[in-house]
Amino acid sequence: MSHRLQVKFGDITLKNPIMPASGCFGFGRDYAKFYDLSQLGAVVVKATTLEERIGNPTPRLAETPSGMLNAIGLQNPGVEAVINEEIPWLTQFDVPIIVNVAGSMTEDYIEVAERISAVKDVAMIELNISCPNVKQGGIAFGTDKKVAHELTKAVKKASQVPVYVKLSPNVTDIVEMAEAVAEAGADGLSMINTLLGMRFDLRTRKPILANQTGGLSGPAIKPVALRMIYEVSKRVALPIIGMGGITTAEDVAEFFLAGASAVAVGTANFVDPYVMPKIIQDLERVLDEMGVKSITELTGKGWS
């Protein structure tokens, strides 16, 4: 196997830069029926909170042009069950495990980070300060730079593994947010989470989502993601896992040009369950066409 797709994040080596976006892949079980998860660069699991969460009422999903809205509300079985049932199951695959951590209070985040990062097989924490679909916490942590700074610092202290902070795009100045978490010691950034959006049903005359608003994902948000990654990567010296509408290997190359060092694929899994293995396969062709030996060469090559 060639090493052209290999990327490194500190001590962690990924065989390729393709991983699922948190919340779009459950804990891996569903897509493991389609292919061997060891093919992936990493597996990022659903947001994990201290206690079990039942999430929002349905409808939780709505469709939009080239996109979708979700208001799942961080439904998950809680950190205990994730540690006891999900992580051990995932260790059968030869793939680094990244756990997305969420909470409503700083204390929750800290406790989840402590417990999850103590699990031998967890490679990294993705700190979710950007979930738009919960009443408390979530996005509030991701739109105030002081709050984001403090939380990152606290989680960083609690964690035994690298902490990547997942930024919300629903801010006036994304660079400011990135700088705030960088100063707090973040090891890297994940961007972007969903844009806040909404749809209405003409028949009921009410919002389609029971939660009214939801998070916009899919190809529609790709240009916003690329712009934010570009702005941040030029100013903040942290590796970035890029996401937002990625569907093809060409999209991956575009995210690298913008400044990403790896990417996550979310919504596209719903359209084609094999999309990630396909992208991994196609990437070699795209690198050939671009005349590039290793994909790492592309990071930030689009800066001007």
Partner: protein
């Protein structure tokens, strides 16, 4: 449940806004047939076109399966952009299909000579046809109650009648009795098991009617879907925590068919 490109064999309107589509699945082989041959109550997850608009697949139930020719039959009603675009596809075109997905109707406990009631409302009716066929093949006594809005959007009635007793209702009385499918239930008859598919209002009424009786029953649910395979938690239905302590299930992968007692509608 690998995705495949099916060839469209037929795609024609059979009633007001109701279409029949038949697609051939040439990917079925001896190895994968256990996964690829559909069971009544399962659904296919159809990609409308190869652009990103609309983005998501559309779930449509299996109405019948012709195992000799590997023909998948589905009936659908044009609702919005997705089903309208599907209705415009021509014979010979390819259709990107994922499935069969979900768990179908439990028919293992339907006994020979046992008696079964099928209740279908509107576009919920199609999956009952394949179910009835399988039940009749098992020599189960099947009574079918079908409810439509009106004559012009009714369909499959003759086909159901050919398989056994079938009674019809419509909201305006233009076909069968005037009223809902529930009014077709005679209190004199008794059944071991029922299977119901239709609008939530209908399923709720059935829950109320039979919740306190000993009857065994299944309902098939609809919910907006993202992944269709259990990963996104988009299609949750609440379940009675005394039956399943998690308190929820996924329509796509735990359903779409559920015991009528477990779900909170």
């Amino acid at each position: 449940m690998i995705p495949f490109m099916g060839s469209i064999i037929q795609n024609e309107q059979i009633a007001d806004r109701i279409y029949r589509i038949v697609i051939e699945n040439t990917t079925i082989n001896e190895k994968n047939q256990k996964q690829m041959i559909p069971k009544p109550g399962q659904f296919y997850y159809i990609r409308v076109n190869d652009t990103t608009d609309p983005l998501l697949r559309r779930p449509i139930s299996i109405q019948d399966f012709d195992g000799k020719r590997n023909h998948i039959k589905m009936l659908y009603r044009t609702e919005g952009i997705g089903t309208t675009q599907i209705s415009q596809k021509k014979i010979g075109e390819k259709l990107d299909v994922l499935g069969p997905l979900g768990n179908g109707f439990t028919i293992e406990d339907a006994e020979e000579n046992g008696s079964v009631l099928l209740l279908g409302g509107g576009i919920g009716i199609p999956p009952l046809y394949y179910l009835k066929k399988e039940l009749v093949a098992k020599k189960v006594q099947v009574t079918t109650l079908l409810g439509y809005q009106t004559l012009s959007d009714s369909f499959l009635i003759d086909e159901f009648k050919a398989l056994g007793e079938t009674r019809v209702a419509s909201m305006d009385g233009s076909i069968g009795i005037k009223g809902t499918v529930l009014q077709l239930i005679s209190e004199l008859e008794k059944w071991d098991t029922f299977y119901a598919v239709g609008p939530t209002g209908m399923l709720k009424a059935i829950q109320q009617k039979w919740g306190d009786t000993a009857i065994n029953g299944y309902v098939s649910l609809e919910e907006r879907m993202g992944c269709g395979v259990g990963a996104c938690y988009g299609c949750i239905v609440k379940v009675d925590p005394s039956i399943d302590k998690k308190g929820y299930k996924k329509v796509c992968s735990d359903g779409p068919v559920f015991s009528f007692r477990e779900v909170i509608l």
